[in-house]
Structures are given as C-alpha cells and as structure tokens.
C-alpha cells in the first residue's frame, strides 16, 4: 500500500513538472500562442508606436496597460518581477531600458506571408530612384547587403508605403501578413550552392547585374514564401559560362573530373558543394551522360 502511495506521489510530481498547465507559469517568457494572448493585435500593439519617427511604424513593445490588465499580481511580485524581463533588459523600477523591438535573441513566433506573384504584377518599375527606369523592382525590398547576398526586409518601410491604411492588408491588420507559428530561429543567411557568384560581379562590365527574374525564374509564380527558393537553374549561368566561343567553365571542370575523381569544382562552388557528384543538369548542359565520382576510373 505504501509503495502504491509513493509511486502515485512520484507520478503526480512528474505530471506537474512535465505538464505546462499544472506547473507554475514562467512569466519571463511571453508566447502569442497562449489562448488569452490571442485577442485582436491592437488590444496590445498600438499602430504607430511613439518612437517611430522616420515613418509610421510599430517599433516598440506594448505599453504596461496591455500586461497589467491581467497580470497585476505578477507585476508587483518582489523587487525583480520576472514578467518585466519579457521587454526590459533590466528588471528594476528605476530603469526603463527595453530590448530592441523585436528582441533579436528571442525566437520568432510568426511567419511572414508575402505573395511575390501579386506584387510583381502591380509594381513594375523601380521606385524611389531617379536613375534610369528599370523593371528590376526587387530592389524595393532586396537591397544589396554584400556582393554575394541581397538583404530581406527587416522592417515595415517597404510594406506600409502601400499597405498603411487603405490597401489591404492594412498596417493594423497584423494577421494579414503574420501568421502564428511554432517558435523558430530565423535564419538570416540563405543557403547558397554557388557561393562564388557575386550579384555585382561579371567582370569589368558587371554582366551579372541583370533583371533578377532572368535567373530567379520561379519568383513570379510564387504565391507564398513557404518553400520558396531563389532557384536558379544551371542554364542561367551557362548561357555565358559554357558557350562556344565565349567561355567553357563548366566543361573544363567536368573534364578535370574525368581525369581525377577527387577533383573539387571550384569555379562556382566552395569545397562542401564542389566535392559532391555534379548533378545531372550539369551533364545535360555539357551534352554528356551523367557520371558518379565512384564510377570514374
């Protein structure tokens, strides 16, 4: 009988530890997934926030009212209430310093929806520029970050200039673009297969500077960001880099591989990719049957 009691006690303890609803809530963590946190966004977030000076934006955490209305006991618990650390870098009544909004060290709780196809349709020319008019409108959101990578939007500047109050989804309709998701770490560096490629490159004439959709051929049909890859087919490269009388960069490396199965393709790739078997598409362009490294003598 005593054994059963002990086992039951251990079981209940385990249940309390494992089950989040039975354990004491951790008020230092804020989750939008909590049912009571799923009211309309403007219940807590005000649009625009007071600290948005350059243009109207949401650049700060909600005011204390948003939390105190439900969490009064947690707010006044001890000298350093854990709930304060959701927004404040120091939990002290004498210090108002807050983390950057949103806190870059915390996991993202929302995904962003962006239908490239619809936006390609309505925006045709480069905006906000006095340069020669161009159809390359991707730079509205994707400015150069390095010579290799383009940047992705990190604020609302390229959204609200159209979607402020009239064009749906408007600035107060957060759900129009942001969908609640399982918290995840945002990857800022995209996966690159051909790491040696430079967007601003292409020799003295900078021949890589073209309309983005010349190489990123699937963007104009992409209705969401899910599974969206800037998939550049090999043909986008070989139009110049493997053409009779011009360059033979692909053919040269395939010939080198024929002679040495351990050859690393380096013209476009870093060794992590250059040591793999070339994909069938590369052999197709070279008009040769595909080969695996293990089959090369």
């Amino acid at each position: 009988m005593t054994r059963i009691k002990t086992l039951s006690a251990v079981f209940i303890l385990l249940l309390i530890c494992v089950h989040p609803r039975l354990s004491a809530a951790d008020y230092s963590k804020f989750s939008h997934a909590t049912p009571k946190h799923q009211a309309a966004c403007n219940t807590c977030h005000k649009v625009p926030t007071k600290n948005a000076t350059a243009y109207p934006d949401i650049k700060d955490y909600p005011d204390h009212d948003a939390c105190v209305s439900c969490h009064r006991p947690q707010f006044f618990k001890g000298a350093r209430p854990p709930i304060c650390s959701v927004c404040h870098s120091k939990t002290s009544p004498r210090d108002e310093v807050r983390y950057a909004f949103r806190n870059p060290t915390s996991k993202l709780q929302f995904t962003t929806e962006f239908p490239h196809d619809r936006h390609q349709d309505v925006i045709a020319m480069l905006r906000f520029s006095h340069a020669q008019q161009s159809y390359n409108n991707c730079t509205i959101c994707h400015a150069s970050r390095t010579t290799t990578f383009k940047a992705s939007p990190t604020n609302h500047s390229s959204c609200f200039n159209c979607h402020w109050k009239a064009q749906q989804p408007v600035a107060t309709d957060c759900k129009g673009c942001h969908k609640l998701a399982t918290p995840y770490v945002h990857i800022t560096e995209p996966t690159r297969i051909s790491i040696k490629y430079l967007h601003e490159g292409g020799g003295e004439k900078k021949q890589h500077v073209a309309e983005c959709t010349t190489c990123h051929i699937n963007i104009t049909k992409a209705a969401s960001l899910r599974g969206l890859k800037p998939d550049v087919p090999i043909t986008a490269c070989t139009e110049c880099h493997n053409k009779d009388g011009l360059r033979q960069d692909l053919n040269k490396e395939l010939v080198a591989l024929d002679k040495n199965r351990n050859f690393t393709c380096v013209y476009c790739h870093a060794p992590n990719v250059g040591n793999l078997d070339p994909p069938a598409s590369h052999y197709l362009i070279a008009e040769r049957p595909p080969l695996k490294r293990k089959d090369i003598k």
Binding site: A54, D117, V122, T220, D231
Partner: protein, 256 residues
C-alpha cells in the same frame, strides 16, 4: 521466449520498410517551357519584348478547354484609358499610367515632378497635401502618397481586371501555372508534368490601339529544359513564331 518474439517483430518491421520503399513512385520527370513574347504595336514599330505581362498554362487541349476559351474570346473589356476617363481621372494621370503601361498607381514611383510643377498630376498633388498633414515630412508624404488616393484612382482598374481573371481561372481548374514576363518578354514555366497545355493570357493585352489574345496548344515532354530554344509568341506571323495572337481593335470609350 522473448528473443524469438523480438526477432519476429524486427523482421516484420524490415519487411514493412522494404515494401513501403518499393511502392514509392519513381521520381516524376518534369519539363520547362521558356516563353519569349515579341510584339509590334503597329506595322511601322520594331519588334520588342512584351514586358511585365502574365501568361497562364492550362492543362489540357484547346478542345478540352473549349468552354474557357469561348469565355475568354467573348469577354468585353474596358480599356485602361476608358476606365480612367469614366471615373473622371485627369488627363495627366491617364498619360502617366499610359507612359508606364501601368494598371495601377503602384506600378511606378511618383517622382517630385508629378507632384508639383507643370507636369503635376492633380490627383497626386491632392494626395501629397493630405500625406504631408498625416506624416509630417515631405519625403514620406511623396513616397506614401498612394495611401491617400481614392480606391478607384489607386487600383480600381487592376482590381476590375483581377475579378475577371479570377472568374476565368476558376474555369481553368486548380493546376493552372502562371508566370510574368521580364523586361525582354521572357518567362519560364517550370515543374511541368508532361502533356498538352493551353498557353493563354486569359485577359487581352492592350497593345497600341488593339487588344491581343493568345490561346495556343503547347506540348511539354519530360526532360524539356529551359535551354536555347524558346517558345516564341507574337502578334505577327513568322516562321519561328509558335503562337500568334488574335488582335481586335480596342472599343471606343463610352461617353456618359
């Protein structure tokens, strides 16, 4: 007693995995269609790439899509100029949209010249003043002035076209592919299952004084690549042109 049971279950698991693997369908071989659209606005004009126009690929033959094609050919559309005249837009706005071949004001940046001065578009000037009051600085006011335009001026024409398009797309079934041409008139349809498709622009394209409609049958074979040979589309016949558009004169704007 336990060991034989474990061996039995392990064997059962292995057989299940092997069976599941053997039943996986072979990797689907898909094709790519490289579209090249070259047009002439009139006989004296040079051939040019048709930039920024959306094309659709509808599974099936022309006969299988007869109802849809009849609906495309029957539609009576208002031209951009007529739409904006009808809503009382200023001639300056109509010219501004025409210069960029724009279906909405989002299509090009509003340069300062078009906000004030001799080239000013009255709708932009009014919206700019409202934006100045709202945003407090001239640069944001200009860049965000579309937020203070009336919905009809802003994108009424685009929305009207989208309504027609969505109705037609419903008839085309769930697997209609669509892409938009780049500045050279090139676009790629990728991940296409082998078979017959109808290439269409669904909504006639305004070209000079005409509306052009394309509805052509296209064959996609497995392994087709986006390589050298594009599928050439035009409004003029030529030996290399695979799909010639049907041109109709644009209707005269109705006067109220």
């Amino acid at each position: 007693m336990r060991a034989p049971k474990l061996v039995f279950f392990a064997l059962l698991l292995m057989v299940t995995v092997v069976l599941a693997q053997s039943q996986q369908p072979p990797a689907k071989q898909t094709g790519v269609l490289r579209l090249r659209v070259r047009v002439k606005a009139d006989d004296s004009a040079p051939l040019r790439g048709l930039a920024r126009k959306r094309f659709f690929l509808i599974p099936g033959t022309i006969e299988q899509n007869r109802t849809l094609i009849d609906a495309i050919e029957r539609q009576t559309l208002t031209s951009r100029d007529c739409y904006y005249q009808k809503i009382g837009a200023s001639p300056a706005l109509i010219d501004w949209l025409r210069a960029g071949d724009c279906e909405s004001v989002y299509c090009r940046g509003v340069e300062p010249d078009f906000v004030s001065g001799p080239k000013a578009v009255p709708e932009f000037s009014t919206a700019f003043v409202a934006s100045q009051k709202e945003f407090g600085n001239d640069e944001t006011a200009r860049q965000w002035l579309t937020t203070n335009l009336t919905p009809d001026v802003r994108d009424g024409f685009y929305r009207a076209r989208q309504t027609v398009l969505q109705t037609l797309l419903k008839q085309g079934g769930p697997v209609v592919h669509s892409v938009m041409t780049d500045r050279n008139g090139t676009a790629y349809f990728t991940d296409l299952g082998p078979g017959t498709y109808v290439l269409s622009n669904l909504i006639p394209t305004e070209l000079g004084q005409t509306f052009v409609t394309w509805n052509c049958e296209v064959q996609v074979k497995p392994g087709d690549l986006a390589t050298e040979k594009p599928y050439l589309v035009s409004n003029r016949k030529d030996r290399n042109v695979k799909c010639v558009g049907v041109e109709k004169p644009k209707p005269v704007c109705a006067t109220d």
